[in-house]
Symmetry: C4
Subunit: 353 residues, 4 copies
């Protein structure tokens, strides 16, 4: 994930101007089975869920995105105010800049979130590759920075591999993750950033004592694509081509959600989640909550109200899906019947052979 | 379903002007197996079928549509005259307005059907949600209003959920349906209005003593879509978006027909039925008859002759399908061989796992 | 099939001017497995096959098409001269006109074929429905008319059902076919005309003692489509609509070929056969030969040379397919490996359940 | 394959100007499973592989292409210099002209490769049909011509069948191949040229003692297509049509790779391989290396640098795929998990029945 201020700026510009999303998350291949006789009152459906003992008003997560540049303070403030107001979870972007650079204004781009969201479930963010340099105390510092309720450790090796200057040494990461999972004061979520986590990886992470998985699967924002545009801008042709070639690489979000949930109790589905209906489908596949990153970026630029509005829309979409599947609670939604079609069906069949 | 006069008017205008149909009913995925040697005379094929002891000339149903506004009298008269002339079944739209408002002209929009169709199989219509307020006597009043041969209780919770002012309390409906099924003087058909009835729901309705199911599955008229247009017209953005998101929600008609017929003896297939060939396919999947709503609206506006013409076309299409499958009767058609392809095949396979 | 002179003229005009072919014969879903090491000499491959004891130079059939109008003499002459020159099989169109009308010029449109093709395998053609009126002697007269090596009895009930004036009484046909198969001096082929013959029908025909099946399946020329255009021309709206609705009705040729060959030793595959490669695929599916109708019409209008040219092209295409599957003979081709994909795969799977 | 100088010129011109590639190699249907936690350093991944005891820097092969005309010396020099520089394998085109014609300049178009690539793995090329005329000593002469590390014997009977003047006698080839495999001083690779090698053929070649298979499957360059254009240019209509009809004939490369690897230890995947990611997929399917022909043609025209650049791009693409599947070596890549979708899935299922 972007760590320096300038790189962050490049990323945001590219995300706003270019086509940085792929199809194929797989939710279009999932049909929840309609319940014509739901026997619930839509407005009394209980959408609350619990993340590490913290009750959320709805199983919605604002995914790790930003922080690390004074310009991003505004965005994080809007997101956090909305998270506080609606009582949903929110992550900050990689805290590397905050941990490594000494700059008050920059630091504020992170700390603002707890200032304006004293009660929300907020989680920090560090890269798995950084853990090789950090000890548990450094990660604890990231926790303290925003009084985090949890820490997300991100895996983004494809993105690094597309960056001309990327960090492509992945050795020892699992051991570091195990060490942090063991020693940290708050729960550890391991997350991808757009390429998903396969069942086998999820198993190794479970053995390492990780508390939850955020799949961030193929579908939605493609960092390989974003880095390809950035490489193009500096004339790095070979990296540009690599980025295009791996643009849609990874385990589709629906598949990854299903697979991770076979192994972990707490799974966050992200990567191309675009509505409360997608969140409902993810929960039926086994997720605890659904997360979105890119769709929050525009509203965050407009201000807190726009973010709250999006959250309320997602909540109503989810509630409607719960209503027409007759699910009175998130746990009931997780047990609802669904149908798997098309490419996702082929994928799951092929994976289970 | 629309109950007030003004809302009814909105609906009709939208249905005439906007795209309110979805694909995916599934009939295109069903191939009846050709019988090159049919060994029947096409014109001596027996297309009659029996609905609750009443013999119809053909297994064709004009689905519940309208009534409740003086303007709709003309439409219902044309439909009923045609039903009388051709001896097929016909439903009226929700009788709520007729039961709750005291207005002679409005009432006539319902009563006209029996006036002009003394012998046709006519059935009434009430919403499941209304049953919470009605007792069996009130429903009996709906029966009397048109001397109904049966009552359809409609389930339309998705539509309600898309309406800004919708009734989204579905609790207790099954119990009320059971009470009415038990106490009413005529048979009770439970019908959806465009999202289908899954096998599990069909089973619960069978246990509740319901006499028949009209699946009204996904495909054809989408009330979610219609309400989305209506929400757009009044600037209700969030409802508009919900309506679009759930535009094609539900169990596809072909799937729902197959599933309901595993449980119920009498199943009416509707939702995207667009020809006598679709009716034939529905019967092969297990239906007793096929129903159409929207395709009758235009002809009804033109008059009785146009409705009769459409019924005769449907009848000849069905008869032709019976001919080239070598089916001398509707019962033989129900046993004819068919092939299931594409998405519908995937759907049925996934559902039976 | 067309029997009167005028109707015949309508048909030919429509076939030349309108789109009267459907896709879906299924050959595109069949892949013959390449043999990189064929171990044969292409030009020494034996493409001969035997039809009822008569050796053909190649398993190619000019399907039943025309005769019955003085104008068609030219077409039948060209086809027959080419059949004689290349030693392949040829059928004439329905002989009804020849049997029922008394007109020298008209009769010549049939008799010409034997005049110019003394050695070719020629077969006659009568409609199954006519058998109700004919006794075996009448059919024998059709044999005599062209000194036929076999008689094709065609089943075309869908076409009849689309014609405003069609003969839609299919009762008793099987019994008549059995009678003719039993009593006639030459073998009897039962053929469809574009809607295919399913396994169950093929079984009944085998029990009736029929000597061979020509599947004439869905794909290629659609008589339902042709009659729809003809109905349109006379303003018969309902028949026009029926014709469109059933335009692609029937068992796809590839499926029908496979199914018929499970039951009959001698199967001719037709309906959308468009190359020698399609013929090769049909043979791998179990056919004895492949037949084409419409593709011969244009060349026949140009003259014998053009027909011979098409036959030679088909023969070389077939020979090439035999070469690259390492098939030294038609029998070896029948045993070659093939792959079934897509809709045809779904069809066969669904049919075998 | 092209053997005379003029024909070679025709081919190159057509390849440059016309559409001579088909889709369907099948790599798009293969998804390697992402490893979010690769636990390797990208730049320390071992991409070396061994071909008949010769270590290559990467499992990349420049497929047999050219030689036999003075004009082609430049191309072969650039390819060979790049092979030497990057330590990958390279084949020359058919050596028939070099063996049969006596022309110094022409000979140089072959010998140049060893002159400039003293250490690279270089292999010669003869046609299977030529073996009927050659004895082992003649083939040994082809080996000596370039001090070849191996000889590729090509099978191209479809191409021959499309050429008006083609050699279509395939009899006795297997025996000749066996003789050469037995007697030659270097290993023998049997390769197709664009239509693939099915499992059954691979088995016969294994029994004949062949050392390796280069599948050259359907997908990528189509010689049937190329010869069709050439036939068109000389007005050979029937051959032109045959070429079009068989344009995409053959076992798709992904399928052929999988099948050949069930039987042979050493399989080279070629035919539509277009990136290092395709090579990675081929290796996961069982290949030892991946080969490309046409994509090298343009760069070879530009010079050695451009060829090296392409090889380095392929190497980085492969390395990136190894990185994100957590494969530290080519052997580990061969064991990586993959998913088979779409038409390729259908193909493999159908083939294994
Ligand atoms: C603008 C932006 C910045 C992101 N920054 C980070 C980050 O710093 N750390 C991280 O773990 N993931 C980061 N992500 C990835 C998301 O957290 C998430 O995994 C994924 O993008 C969700 O997919 P979606 O954008 O399709 O909803 C970022 C995503 C976006 C769109
Ligand atoms: C104009 C219109 C009005 C309708 N009104 C009612 C109604 O009042 N009650 C009801 O149960 N269904 C109603 N329906 C739904 C139909 O009865 C039926 O379930 C479904 O629309 C059939 O699908 P089709 O329109 O695609 O043929 C209505 C449908 C239409 C098109
Ligand atoms: C112009 C034309 C006339 C035909 N006439 C007859 C006929 O008289 N009797 C018959 O059995 N089939 C007839 N057929 C049907 C063909 O014999 C055959 O079953 C079918 O059309 C083959 O398909 P194809 O045209 O796609 O090759 C005719 C077909 C065509 C195109
Ligand atoms: C220009 C060109 C010339 C070729 N010449 C030969 C040849 O002489 N001998 C041979 O075995 N294959 C020859 N091939 C085939 C390739 O070696 C290879 O099998 C196949 O083309 C690989 O597919 P691709 O071009 O899609 O990468 C040639 C291919 C090309 C493009």
């Amino acid at each position: 994930m972007p760590e320096t201020s300038d790189r962050k700026d490049d990323h945001i510009r590219i995300i706003e101007e270019e086509d940085v999303e792929t199809a194929g998350a797989g939710f279009a291949d999932i049909d929840l089975v309609h319940e014509a006789l739901p026997e619930v009152h839509r407005d009394e459906i209980d959408t609350t869920t619990t993340l590490f003992g913290h009750e959320l008003a709805a199983p919605i997560v604002i995914e790790s995105m930003t922080g690390g540049h004074p310009n991003t303070t505004k965005i994080n403030r809007a997101l956090a105010e909305a998270a506080q107001e609606t009582n949903i979870a929110m992550g900050v972007g990689s805290q590397r800049a905050g941990l490594e650079l000494d700059d008050e204004d920059l630091l504020e781009s992170y700390t603002v979130v707890r200032d304006v969201a004293p009660d929300a479930f907020l989680y920090g963010n560090v890269g798995a590759a950084q853990l090789l340099e950090y000890d548990v105390e450094d990660v604890e510092e990231a926790v303290d920075m925003i009084e985090a309720d949890a820490i997300a450790v991100h895996l983004n090796f494809l993105q690094e591999a597309v960056q001309p200057e990327g960090d492509v040494d992945a050795r020892g990461c699992l051991e570091e993750i195990e060490r942090v999972a063991d020693g940290l004061s708050v729960p550890v979520v391991v997350k991808e950033t757009g390429n998903g986590i396969a069942r086998e990886t999820a198993e190794r992470l479970a053995e390492a004592g990780v508390d939850a998985i955020d799949v961030a699967g193929q579908g939605g924002t493609t960092w390989s694509g974003i880095e390809s545009y950035r490489a193009a801008a500096v004339g790095a042709d070979r990296q540009e081509a690599i980025g295009q070639l791996f643009r849609a690489w990874g385990v589709p979000t629906a598949v990854s959600t299903y697979e991770a949930a076979q192994v972990h109790d707490t799974v966050i589905a992200s990567g191309g989640v675009r509505s409360g209906l997608d969140i409902a489908k993810a929960i039926a596949l086994g997720a605890q909550a659904g997360g979105l990153a890119k769709p929050f970026l525009g509203p965050a630029g407009q201000g807190t109200g726009a973010v709250v509005d999006l959250i309320e829309t997602l909540e109503l979409e989810l509630r409607t899906a719960m209503f027409v599947t007759g699910s009175g609670s998130v746990d009931e939604l997780r047990d609802t019947d669904y149908v798997v079609l098309g490419r996702t069906k082929e994928y799951l069949e092929s994976r289970s052979e």
